[in-house]
Symmetry: C2
Subunit: 303 residues, 2 copies
């Protein structure tokens, strides 16, 4: 079966022509139309309505997080090319004058800036760990989270955004609890997406680890089947992952010093949905005219 | 009449204890509870329902915008201390190794980064201008916009966030159209906020221009009454501006080369609501127990 669009460029042209996205001068940075955002917010509420852990705290994260917390995640070691570090100006009137002089002359004005105490958030769950109890309770720690993340990627594919929102169901606990969380969410997530008229296939996947050393991490992650992606065909060129089910083993338990009752580092897992990508997948599947979408899908999204 | 809280610290303690905000290690960076976000999204939909220009395009902006567009706004000249510039890593495996070495030794690892082609958005409308037609039509260009903005501020006051959302009704056109837009929105905004049980006073205000030169800009802005703020009393210590009505004269028309029919630089105006601040003001006014809020307010917000 062929995908709705031949190539990412065709899909891009179609969503731009329909006014759903508005391009900026930078690949991967788009403005969203109000209708697109209505669908996305409806999707976010619909995903929330699928919660099974009704007592899990829900948290919305801003697009930034404390630099010190970010550095505990090891993200800079694994994905340096995706990181967004924030610089700010803390200087005097005189230093400001020098900055403006450099800016006017076309020199690098950012040399007058210093690293901020925050960075751009790279993953929803990064903001969570520092707020969990160091001693994870026997029933595990759960959370339902949402927020903007930044990945320094680019290209003409409108599903590859630099800044986008993730909606996640997270569990931190024993290995059995973490794996159980991931594996119980996979059929549930599939059912939710199928209920919206999407037909994702579930594939063993890997994170885009950087460089030569990264290739070994990729191999290990695939061999252990730690990550599954929910992939839809928007174009014939390549599949688009709109959600993923992840088992992080004890990675964050170790770096954030979270332990379970037996004194071992806690293990983590999450079911994560990409809100912009899933919204784009809905437009690809049902067409760019929202009024013509199946009634049950519109009802589920409240739009 | 005294405010609901004596000092910003009291309000901060109350909203943290109620679990509405979750503090991070950095002042001005909080996680929002799911309930807080529900109220905020209800507020956003309620503000949208107040639109009078039903044909104005609605646009949701990501938290980042192209650096080149940002530099056209002159924000670095006027508010350098609030700017968030983004750095990224574009190096090789070897350079990554050097970066990690510096990180491990506690040296400045960010010296291995370079300025990105994007920066954090400082104001909602900055993203808009580059997408407007250079020749503004006779009926003016209008837009309804929303997005996260970053301001590098800090302090214990939970209404002073580094990252927050603005909802704005913008017009770009002739001076008369711009002033008319601002002045017709002021009573309308007051009615909307009063309808939610808030009692803002409207004050001539100014932007926080930087440094010595900034003091003159402040004086000029106040004298010309370009900016009005809608201020509520959350604490006895200081008023909190939750919305503002702004006339930017031809500032953005000049820097983005937008002209009206007579060949003159276009003038701009906007009515802007701070979504997190207004939500906090609602909690201060109606109490931290959402279930006890007036029924009509909950109905308006759909929560």
């Amino acid at each position: 079966m062929s995908a709705p669009y031949a190539a990412p460029d065709d899909f891009r042209t179609a969503v731009l022509d329909a006014g759903l996205l508005v391009a900026s001068a930078v690949d991967g940075v788009y403005q969203l139309s109000g209708e697109f955002e209505d669908v996305l917010q409806g999707l976010q509420r619909h995903l929330g309505s699928q919660r099974v852990d009704h007592d899990a705290p829900r948290r919305w994260f801003p697009p930034v997080l404390p630099r010190a917390e970010f550095l505990r995640t090891d993200y800079v070691a694994s994905f340096p090319d995706l990181v967004g570090s924030v610089d700010v100006f803390r200087g005097s009137d005189a230093e400001h004058k020098a900055l403006l002089g450099d800016l006017e002359q076309g020199c690098d004005w950012t040399q007058h800036l210093e690293p901020a105490e925050i960075v751009l958030s790279s993953a929803g769950c990064h903001s969570l760990y520092a707020t969990l109890p160091a001693q994870i309770p026997d029933e595990a720690s759960r959370a339902e989270i949402c927020g903007f993340v930044f990945r320094h990627e680019s290209g003409p594919d409108p599903t590859r955004l630099q800044s986008f929102r993730m909606y996640e169901f997270v569990l931190v606990g024993t290995p059995e609890q973490a794996l159980g969380h991931r594996d119980s969410w996979m059929p549930r997530a599939l059912a939710v997406l199928e209920g919206l008229g999407l037909r994702p296939r579930v594939e063993v996947a890997h994170d885009p680890f950087f460089g030569r050393a990264g290739r070994m991490l990729v191999a290990g992650q695939v061999e252990a089947a730690l990550k599954y992606e929910f992939v839809v065909d928007i174009t014939d060129a390549t599949g688009t992952a709109i959600a993923s089910a992840n088992y992080q083993q004890d990675h964050f338990g170790r770096t954030f010093s979270l332990t379970t009752g037996d004194g071992q580092p806690a293990h983590g897992a999450c079911m994560a949905f990409g809100l912009e990508r899933t919204t784009l997948a809905l437009y690809a599947a049902h067409g760019l005219d929202l009024a013509a979408w199946p009634a049950d899908v519109r009802a589920a999204l409240g739009c």
